[in-house]
């Protein structure tokens, strides 16, 4: 009993202590959001804000012109929601196809998919922009969300790898029970890859929330801007930057991501263990 107790204490001290070390920068970020803008740099050594001000939050929340920061958060939430749905639906379907079905050209298409990941966006950006311009999709969310419904190589590959760890006997059993291919996907595979789906959801949420280049390129009207664009506008390359407001709104924009992560991480680790699958 006793050594087990001790082990637990050591574990928490170790893991907890290390967490604090890793999180120091994050604490610093949060603390800075309560400092007067000028003091963020001058008193960099002093960790605790003095005086403790909330003004940064009020100032940042005002946003620009007629658009409060709330608008940007709403826009980003809409953007993320579409991409999330797109990725979850399309990637699991496509991944199932690659991982479980035998068809002519499977390896070819898989290789193509991986290769599309290897070309930097900067060089395909201009031609792609022109395509979307021709479609009349500029200044709308379409160029940003429509492609999400056609899968994302990273998540397809991720889900493929997870599906491949699931024993095939399960499929065979289901076939005997009268399931067709879609049935196997829907009834057998989908429930078993919940951890990977949750991972997909978390990454999609965070990456989309953080995406800067896409919105910068395709959204023109400030009423449609996202959080990442708005944060950059607190800074100036010529005059005084409003660091305080930038830090404050950075903290605000972290909250949704944090919450989503906290909710979904449970599915990452609890998915299979509760499903009662035996190896």
């Amino acid at each position: 009993m006793k050594p087990k107790h001790l082990k637990k204490i050591i574990y928490h001290v170790l893991v907890g202590g290390f967490a604090i070390l890793l999180l120091y920068p994050v604490f610093w970020l949060v603390m800075s959001s309560f400092k007067v803008s000028e003091q963020i740099f001058v008193t960099a050594e002093s960790f605790i804000p003095d005086p403790f001000v909330l003004g940064n939050y009020a100032q940042g929340w005002e946003g620009f012109g007629d658009h409060g920061f709330g608008t940007f958060i709403k826009n980003t939430a809409i953007f993320v929601a579409f991409v999330l749905v797109g990725h979850l639906v399309s990637c699991s379907l496509i991944a199932f196809g690659f991982a479980r079905l035998k068809f002519v050209g499977r390896n070819f298409w898989f290789a193509i998919m991986i290769v599309t990941l290897m070309l930097p966006y900067e060089v395909v950006m201009i031609p792609q922009y022109i395509i979307f311009a021709e479609l009349g999709w500029l200044n709308s969310l379409k160029p940003l969300v429509v492609p999400a419904f056609f899968g994302h190589p990273f998540f397809i590959f991720l889900l493929v790898q997870f599906i491949r760890t699931i024993p095939r006997e399960l499929d065979e059993a289901a076939t005997i029970d009268g399931c067709n291919t879609f049935g196997i996907y829907y009834r057998i595979i989908l429930p078993l890859i919940v951890p990977a789906l949750a991972t997909t959801a978390i990454f999609t949420f965070y990456w989309t929330w953080d995406n800067l280049l896409g919105p910068v390129l395709y959204l023109n009207s400030p009423s449609k801007y996202t959080v990442s664009m708005a944060l950059n506008m607190f800074l100036s390359n010529e005059t005084v930057s409003n660091w305080g407001a930038m830090f404050a709104m950075s903290v605000v924009s972290l909250i949704p991501v944090f919450i989503i992560f906290f909710i979904f991480q449970r599915y990452v680790v609890e998915g299979i263990s509760t499903s009662g699958l035996k190896g």
Binding site: A44, F103, V104, M113, V123, F162, S250, V257
Partner: protein
């Protein structure tokens, strides 16, 4: 025969969305960029065919290019293994189901959530500043403080630390992988009296190998393409003395600051070839170390 057609049909039905998306949005830009790489193209006027000149220039007349290739290799080969090892260790530590651990998981993931915003750049400058916590720690250990932003080698290592610090995404994927290893395997091994290391090498690593493969490939690709950290940390310059001029940053400069999109495209295709070779090597070796449960344990 009939089943064959049916099988193909099902296959294309499932991967259909990918093919449609690829044909609609991706293939034309890819072909266009390949074409640009053989041209002199300034974004605004029509590209002019110049054959292999861009490629020749890169390898014979552009020391900055070769330098940026070199430091990108250092960044990838130092950063990726460190990050993956770190992520795996933490994932194993956090692979239990108590309430506190859920909180830990979130805390450990937090650094990755704050990602690539400007706030990170400032924060990082503060931490690695002259009087920042890193230099204070070094001092207390009797080591001379380092000018992290002023020394090209130190600056590159700082970028590597930043990437290791944001290990959360790999950790999460490892966690999901660890969770799909049936507990019964470990129980059986324990009954046989296996040690921790025996279990680690005979159960964890083989069972986790598909996920390790995934992480290794994706992190390698991502590391080669790293742009945002280098851009924000060096304020877009790639300095000091080009110490943080990662490949993508130099490519961006060529394309959008010098308006040499032809040259940038050529750079991109060389990068594609390098990454493709590396990932093919990883894929080829995977036959020997990656274990797929669905494929009869091979």
């Amino acid at each position: 025969m009939q089943t064959n057609i049916k099988q193909n049909l099902w296959g294309y039905l499932f991967i259909g969305p990918f093919i449609i998306g690829f044909l609609a949005f991706t293939i034309i830009p890819i072909i266009a960029s390949l074409y640009f790489s053989f041209t002199s193209y300034d974004l605004f006027s029509a590209p002019q065919w110049i054959g292999f000149d861009n490629f020749k220039e890169m390898f014979t007349n552009d020391p900055r290019y070769l330098h940026s290739l070199k430091i990108t290799f250092i960044y990838v080969f130092a950063g990726v293994p460190l990050r993956l090892a770190f992520a795996l260790i933490v994932a194993m530590l956090l692979n239990t189901a108590s309430r506190a651990v859920g909180l830990y998981r979130t805390l450990y993931y937090l650094p990755s959530l704050i990602g690539g915003s400007v706030a990170v750049a400032i924060m990082w400058r503060n931490i690695f500043g002259d009087e920042g916590i890193v230099n204070l720690a070094l001092l207390s250990m009797g080591i001379d403080p380092v000018r992290w932003f002023g020394d090209p080698t130190a600056a590159l290592w700082m970028l590597i630390f930043l990437s290791v610090w944001q290990f959360g995404s790999s950790m999460l994927i490892f966690l999901a992988g660890l969770k799909s290893i049936p507990q019964s395997y470990y129980e059986a091994a324990s009954v046989d009296g296996a040690s921790f290391f025996q279990k680690f090498f005979h159960i964890t690593i083989p069972m986790l190998s598909p996920v390790i493969l995934f992480n290794a490939i994706m992190q390698t690709i991502a590391a080669f393409m790293t742009f945002v950290p280098a851009f924000i940390i060096s304020k877009g310059t790639g300095g000091p003395l080009d110490g943080t001029l990662l490949y993508s940053l130099y490519l961006f400069k060529q394309g959008f600051e010098f308006f040499s999109m032809g040259y940038a495209s050529a750079m991109a295709w060389i990068m594609l070839i390098i990454i493709a070779i590396l990932t093919s090597i990883i894929f080829l070796t995977s036959k020997f170390w990656v274990h797929y449960e669905s494929e009869g344990g091979r």
